[in-house]
């Protein structure tokens, strides 16, 4: 199987590799770079667990080929708290108990990270629309949404 050179910057570190054309970006990260925080839940683009940022945009790592990331910057969950302390998305999920098994969590962290970095602040509908792209079987989404809402300004009407 022919291999193709790929140069990709992941979480600020540049890598040059030769990879098969059919290698997915998720498998590049997991198998070749050892970044196993990007989880594969369905490999069909449905569950969102493998979401990473490709040149700042959220993508399904399972639906992007590694060769398509040539020349791009990739952010994975391992790159979110690069300075050691939890990022505010991560902290909000922890404070609001927005994760249980944690398998879907890395993708959700990156999706929310991306939303918060947009020039226009997201509203609640934006949060729901973005989180609709992520499957979670543990939380019923209740606390994921509460964590997300806590990040976009004044707390919503108090519920318990």
């Amino acid at each position: 199987m022919s291999e193709h050179p790929v140069e990709v910057t992941v979480n600020g570190t540049r890598h040059r590799l030769d990879v098969p054309a059919r290698l997915s970006l998720a498998d590049l990260l997991r198998e070749h770079l050892g970044l196993t925080g990007t989880h594969l839940g369905c490999e069909q683009g449905r569950c969102g667990s493998c979401t990473v940022l490709l040149s700042g945009e959220p993508v399904r790592g399972c639906l992007v080929l590694a060769v398509q990331a040539d020349g791009a910057e990739v952010t994975t969950v391992e790159g979110v708290a690069a300075d050691g302390t939890l990022d505010r998305v991560q902290s909000a999920l922890r404070e609001h108990h927005g994760l249980q098994c944690g398998f879907c969590t890395p993708g959700i962290v990156l999706t929310l990270r991306h939303l918060l970095d947009l020039p226009a602040p997201p509203g609640r509908d934006d949060l729901v629309a973005a989180l609709d792209g992520h499957l979670c079987r543990c939380t019923g989404y209740v606390n994921i949404l509460r964590a997300a809402e806590s990040l976009i300004g004044p707390a919503p009407s108090e519920r318990s």
């Binding site: 925080g37 939890l86 404070e95 994760l99 944690g102 108090e158």
Partner: protein, 894 residues
Amino acid sequence: MTTLRPDAGTAGVTRSAAGTRGETGGRPTVVGTPARRREDDRLLRGRGRFVADLRLPGQAQAVFVRSTEPHALLRAVDVSAARGDRRAVAVLSAADFPGGPPLLPSASGPVPGLPTAQPALATDRVRYVGEPVAVVVAADRYAAEDLADLVRVDYAPLPVVADLDAALRPGAPTLHPRAADQPGGPPGTPARGDDGAARDDSAGRGSAPGWGDNVEQVVRAVRGDVTAALAAAPLTFSVRLSIARQAGAPMETRGVVADWDRAAGRLTVWTPTQIPHGMRDAVAAALGLPADAVRVVLPDVGGAFGTKMQPYPEEFVVAWLSRLLGRPVGWVEDRAEHTVATVHGRDQHHDVEVGHDASGRILAIRDRMASDIGAYSFTNAAVEAIATPAAVPGLYRVPAYAAESLAVFTNKTPAGPFRGVGAAPATFVMERIVDLVAAQVGVDPAEVRLRNLIGPDELPYGPRTTLHLTQGSMPWPPHDSGDYPGLLRRALDLVGYRDLRREQAQRRASDPAGPLFGVGLGMFVEPSGDGKPELARLRVDEYGVVEVAAGLAPSGQGHETMLAQIVADELRIPLDDVVVRLGDTDRLRWGAGTMASRSAAVGGGAVRLAARALVERAVPVAARLLGVPASAVALTEHGFGRTDGTGAALDWASVAQAAGPTTGTGELAAEAEFRPAGIPFGYGVHVSVVEVDPGTGVVTALRHRAFDDCGTVLNPMMLAGQVHGGIGFAIGNALFEELPYTDDGFPLAGAAGYPLPTVSSMPADVWVAHAQAPAPPAAGRGGGDVKGAGEGGVIGGTAAIANAVADALAHRPGPPPARTPARTPAGTGAGGTLAFPSLPGIVGPEAVTRIPLTPPEVLRLLRAQPSPATGVPAAYPANTPDRRHAPNPGLSRG
């Protein structure tokens, strides 16, 4: 009943004591506080270690070749092309196992000698799409998948048994022909002979299936004389209630890494399982090894929900491969495989006869149920068939009850447990019955519940039901403690039930063409554990760090945090001084695992007892150091000190050092087993408010309220998380989750995916609260009144949502459906003190009788014509013939 405490399940919402450090007897505790989870940091940073993340040096990857046929003879499995590829590390079919591949165990007690167990790789016949036929090993998964395509399987298709009705039809093809018909006979020869007639239906005990049909086993539950009670009941009706085939569907699929250590003669298996010790024993047996030659280690587990509660063929085969090849071998299930290779659940029919009186008091229920267990006596295949029958009456009196439950083979993926096993389908059935009774007699469903609920003064209730299994008979454990009507009354107050009914009437009057508005109740009991004991071991090192081992195997619930809270309180130490290590069979002799809402109630109890034993071991050591008698030593948050308060206190590190192996009497450690005296029953009520679009049939869940009593709350934040997650399951189970198969046995979900709820499927408004009724003395409960709460959300929630949809449909525009004239004024029945207005109810074929309530199903119900009222016969025909094979006409008046 103490007050209902709106739960502060999340950060920043601390309206109750739950948000602050608790106080017990004047001392601060961490039990009862929303301690943040110690699991979260690694998971949030992507540092969790799941089985798919493991890469041992030299690890090869396995891929399974699976049956593409639902039912066929295996003419040939040709692995030569795959084996000939230079990338192949190994390619095996059943023929490569000396003496045949290991059989999967069965815990469900089918007939001895009946060859219905699944071989780890198919031998001469396949019985479901997805059954493993061969395995291919290569250096990586990409290569292994290439090679799997080279394996050629020659199938000779057999007639397919695609569902319960087909399986039970006289003359149906059999999945497991009796020995006399082997080998093969002409394919598809009906192998019946003794038929169901061989079963003695009057014997009242679980009976063996004949070998000539598709019934794996029959389970019965009996309370009182149901035939006489039905005959004497003033009003009766019958209905078929059904639950579709559904699944636990964790976000992490299954997987395994096995590493055979040739030098030690030992196998290490990393796998996400709920039963590490059970897995150890099963893998050891499959490989012919002593149990102590196998070590099972639990990685982080990405959800389990019952699907990871049994060994599967892949663990046996991968372990076998590692020993054969002398190198580590891994396998990770992909999602398409998961829908056909991991156990399914539910898939039941209930043909129910109900006798009641004109006030809505339920006098008798007979339930003839059948569960589709798939193709084999897989480990827990019959668990839904076994766990459902005794659970149907739930928290209602139901003086006479009888159930006959058939576990039935079909050409589908084997069944097994998933969240709410037995209890969720039983509760759906019972809660629908209660609402149908309410509709029959024209009394509000809440009022009918109050007339039928077991009162607090009647607890403990039972044992009243006898469960007859193939292994023998046993009493169904009594409900222990609680206040069922008290909780319902408080819940009705808190949700503003009266206002909801008013809103419903107003909407119907003001916007008859608009969305249909419905309110539904779902009441449930949740048995905590299954009576199995649990083991825990605590050890203190010379730095004062306490290490906790227990037989539990978490999959996201937060066991590490929960157990640390218990230990911190018992030992009076900071949370950070507790290290919890679970899921390593080398650390603990045995353990039962995590299932059946048992971890907090039973596992937490074992840890609590072990902590108390540890204190008992430490006190004499401290006494020696302090120079006082043991009776003069007190443990406080400062450590071990003199009861008179004089002098300095010793911390745990000092005591551990003094007890240490070189300086003292030995390691400071303690082990305790907790064997619950009975089964604590949590209970609760869910209230669901929905809207149904009459044009599209789409159901929108607007609000969901959950109230439960699970005894002492260990961590309100995590408890609310469990309930939320259960409500998520309930939304999916009630409204759209289904694993459909074609009429000829091919699964449709593999391609289309299994439909799971997303954030926008959830009600925008979810609210959870807890109450705690006084419990009997804590004896036998590990010192804590803790009841399970992991499954109540799906158990009560599913029923509440289904009833809400039914209620919405009953409030469709047009004249109310005709109803039996038999009514009593509200408030005259036992416990009937709430005078709710009478409601229209639907009792005909247009009633909700099946979940999920998908848009097509809802449209079908909306278009059904209300049935005309008929007279209600005074008595139900006694001794109705066995209707096992008869099609059910749906709800009809008896």
